[in-house]
């Protein structure tokens, strides 16, 4: 993975000094809370319901075992012994003390980590496919491009105070696993017939209050021009994005207001200013970044492993785990493994410091010391030899990291919600847990199969509920918490936004509603259909009828 050179080190250390000074001035009363707020946010520090929350950047989700051990160390010394992986592939600490945050950043800097631009109205941490570099369907490894863009976006002087936050996702596979159509900018990397790398630039997608899928504004941007072209996109947005209303300030609103074509024209005009200029990326720099993401020096392995096959046949629990958590790899004899952070009873994405240490050990032993965080809030070991899978499973299981539910209904994507977040309208973690408890029967869960369930505690949509096959959104109605349920959303190549099934529900009703939706699917499906396919084929009606029955109209009146 990418290692800092002296430039990167210097920058991060200077940031620690700058932040310490800002914090010190705030504590001394020289810097008002209002003026400190945007500054601390750009450093990932929220003041939350109970305590500050510090969001640590994990650039494009890549993490070394050494870094994970440091996160564990920080969790023990400055937090309550655990951390939380977010849907932005970052790690959040929910209980640090404000006065300690400077020290925490200094600790992070020792392992080439920081919290720069993990919040605030600036360019955020860039996300990508957790299987980058190993996926069999990969056309372009997105990580070197992500690294080039990480550097471009870090402390970009012109775009530190945008109208609103700005999120970029990059994919380089046939099957989009980075939700590129639901980001402020999505970049789909591919190759032309000569093999040169091009980017399809998608702008103005997003979730939140106004979910919109992005529009393609450039079909074939050569990779060298990514920074200058994105400068142009950001400049148009910075100047003309709305600043009078935070809910209408994302780039999607601007693109919608002036139209994607007009927006593309403005960007193109703006781009001419910098095009082919000094910021055009050189082959040498791309090569340098690429060299950081080479395949591990791993032995060449045969396609199959007899020991693995034997365990698969003799141990059904292992076989079950393999069927859900292990996926194909571009090199023979290797597999990519997803370790679930979604056992029943634990907030999705939460991980204890003991688990972090265990995970770091497993990564060292079986995964070349590298890990990735997925936007589904699980952890991926990308390069595991077939022959090591059984031992890895045993080791992961001993630490509660081998729940065989990847891609199943209980692999819930969920924001921290009202238990932690001061923005939330409603709690989300207890809803996730109640649903997990309602679907504890593994055989049934396996029979139901692939089903993505997303929960957001408010319209900010950190739980990406719009693209969940089933989406649950916490809403506030006259001071009490209600939940709106939608179906039909999906990520991937057929990204779609879900439709709300009807009036919202009280918290205790939600598991029953999900059960009815799932039962309807099980009754109506054809043998090869996933939940989402059945929804697409049949539409809303049968699902709605099963949930609301005859009382639909009445319910609408009651709490519509």
């Amino acid at each position: 993975m990418y290692r800092y050179d002296e430039y990167d080190h210097t920058l991060v250390l200077e940031r620690v000094a700058q932040y310490r000074d800002q914090l010190q001035r705030n504590l001394a009363g020289e810097l008002s809370d209002d003026e400190f707020r945007p500054l601390r946010l750009q450093n990932g520090l929220y003041i939350q319901r109970h305590a500050p929350m510090l969001r640590v950047a994990i650039p494009y989700g890549m993490l070394s075992s050494m870094q994970l051990r440091k996160l564990s160390d920080i969790g023990r010394r400055y937090d309550r012994g655990y951390g939380h992986f977010s849907t932005r592939q970052n790690m959040q600490f929910n209980w640090p003390k404000l006065e300690d945050t400077g020290d925490i950043l200094a600790e992070l800097a020792t392992v080439e980590m920081h919290a720069i631009q993990t919040s605030g109205n600036c360019i955020r941490n860039i996300t990508t496919d957790p299987f980058a570099g190993v996926a069999p369907d990969e056309i372009v490894d997105p990580r070197p491009y992500c690294e080039v863009l990480r550097q471009w976006s870090t402390f970009h002087p012109e775009f530190a105070f945008l109208p609103r936050k700005f999120k970029i996702a990059v994919s380089g596979t046939l099957e989009d696993r980075a939700v590129t159509y639901a980001h402020d900018v999505g970049l789909q990397l591919y190759r032309d017939e000569k093999g040169d790398v091009l980017a399809r630039v998608i702008v103005g997608g997003g979730m939140g209050r106004t979910p919109i899928l992005g529009s393609v504004i450039h079909e074939a941007l050569p990779w060298q021009h990514l920074p200058t072209y994105l400068d142009a996109v950001l400049r148009v947005y910075n100047r003309y994005g709305r600043r009078d209303n935070a809910y209408k300030a994302r780039i999607k609103i601007l693109v919608k207001a002036i139209g994607a074509e007009a927006f593309a024209r403005q960007v193109d005009e703006e781009w001419q200013l910098e095009r082919d200029g000094i910021a055009t990326v050189t082959q040498a720099e791309l090569d340098r970044a690429r060299a950081a993401f080479t395949d591990p020096e791993a032995p060449v392995l045969p396609e199959t492993d007899a020991g693995f096959d034997a365990k698969l046949a003799s141990d059904p629990a292992f076989a079950r785990w393999v069927s859900r958590c292990v996926r194909g790899h571009k090199r023979p004899g290797y597999r990519a493994v997803t370790l679930s952070l979604k056992p029943t009873g634990i907030a999705p994405g939460d991980i204890s410091c003991e688990q972090m240490d265990a995970l770091a050990d497993l990564a060292d032993r079986y995964g070349f010391g590298e890990l990735r965080v997925s936007h589904e809030q699980n952890v991926v070991l990308a390069d595991v030899a077939l022959a090591d899978l059984y031992e890895l499973w045993l080791g992961a299981r001993a630490h509660g990291l081998a729940t065989p539910n990847i891609g199943l209904l209980t692999d819930i994507i969920c924001c921290p919600g009202g238990d932690f977040c001061s923005l939330a309208n409603a709690k989300s973690i207890p809803i996730a847990q109640a649903i997990q408890e309602a679907f504890e029967n593994l055989d049934y869960l396996y029979d139901v199969g692939d089903l993505e369930l997303n929960i957001s505690g408010c319209m900010n949509s950190c739980g990406h509920h719009h693209v969940g096959h089933i989406g649950i959104l916490g809403v506030d109605k006259t001071g009490s918490e209600w939940y709106q349920v939608s179906i039909g959303g999906s990520q991937g190549n057929r990204t779609s936004l879900g439709d709300v099934i009807g009036p919202s529900f009280a918290a205790e009703e939600v598991p029953g509603v999900i059960k009815k939706l799932v039962e309807t699917y099980v009754e109506q499906r054809t043998p090869e259909e996933r939940f989402i396919d059945t929804v697409r084929r049949l539409g809303m009606a049968p699902f709605k009828a099963s949930v609301y029955g005859e009382s639909t109209k009445k319910a609408e009146v009651t709490h519509g």
């Binding site: 500054l39 990326v281 050189t282 720099e285």
Partner: protein, 204 residues
């Protein structure tokens, strides 16, 4: 008292910054700018306010609207180098350039206002003035000019900073050097870090 930093020195300000009173009535921009108005919700000054604006003797830094509407009466003073113009964060550098026949360097001073420090439009305005329009004279940050933005101001092309009254000049000057080796290029012509990596020793 607001202090002025030029380059890295505190200097006496020999310019009078002229501002229009806040307009109460929402006034639509001229036809061509309706889209801009809708998007940004900014109000333009009315003709009455502009013609009533008192322009003192000596060097004056005028609002763009006053300069555009009254530049005939100001022509001689402009030739004498007594007129500077400032843009508010929603205003168009192109309009200013057009009024000067494309040559912004006829002005000795251009200001860009930051009504609130979280309004980042001024950074792009500065970048555009320095690059697209090739402006080389003094470019001054006005308004909510604070220590923690100094580094960004400078990189986007500002070389003068009228600090908000509560700011300490010495600390603001120090903040110009918060970072020694930024990643990106900017108006200063500093190559992006990857070009410096490729040519070690080429660092300024």
């Amino acid at each position: 008292m607001a202090e002025l930093i030029r380059g890295t020195e505190v200097v006496a300000d020999d310019w009078t910054w002229v501002r229009l009173p806040e307009s109460q009535e929402p006034v639509r921009k001229s036809a061509g700018k309706v889209v801009l108005f809708k998007l940004t919700g900014e109000k333009a000054a009315s003709d009455d306010v502009i013609s009533a604006c008192d322009i003192p003797a000596g060097k004056v830094l005028l609002p763009l609207s006053v300069w555009l509407r009254r530049r005939d009466e100001l022509a001689t003073r402009a030739d004498d180098g007594e007129i500077g113009v400032w843009l508010d964060s929603h205003e168009e550098p192109a309009e200013l350039a057009e009024s000067l026949g494309g040559n912004l360097n006829r002005l000795p001073l251009i200001g860009v206002n930051f009504p609130k420090f979280i309004d980042g439009r001024g950074y792009s305005i500065a970048f555009i003035l320095r690059t697209r329009f090739g402006y080389r004279n003094e470019l001054r940050a006005l308004g909510d000019v604070l220590r923690d933005q100094m580094f960004f101001f400078h990189r986007c092309g500002f070389d003068a900073y009228l600090l908000r009254a509560d700011q300490k000049a010495e600390r603001c000057i120090g903040a110009l050097k918060d970072f020694t080796a930024p990643y990106q290029t900017s108006t200063d012509g500093q190559p992006p870090v990857f070009r410096r990596r490729a040519a070690p020793g080429a660092d300024a």
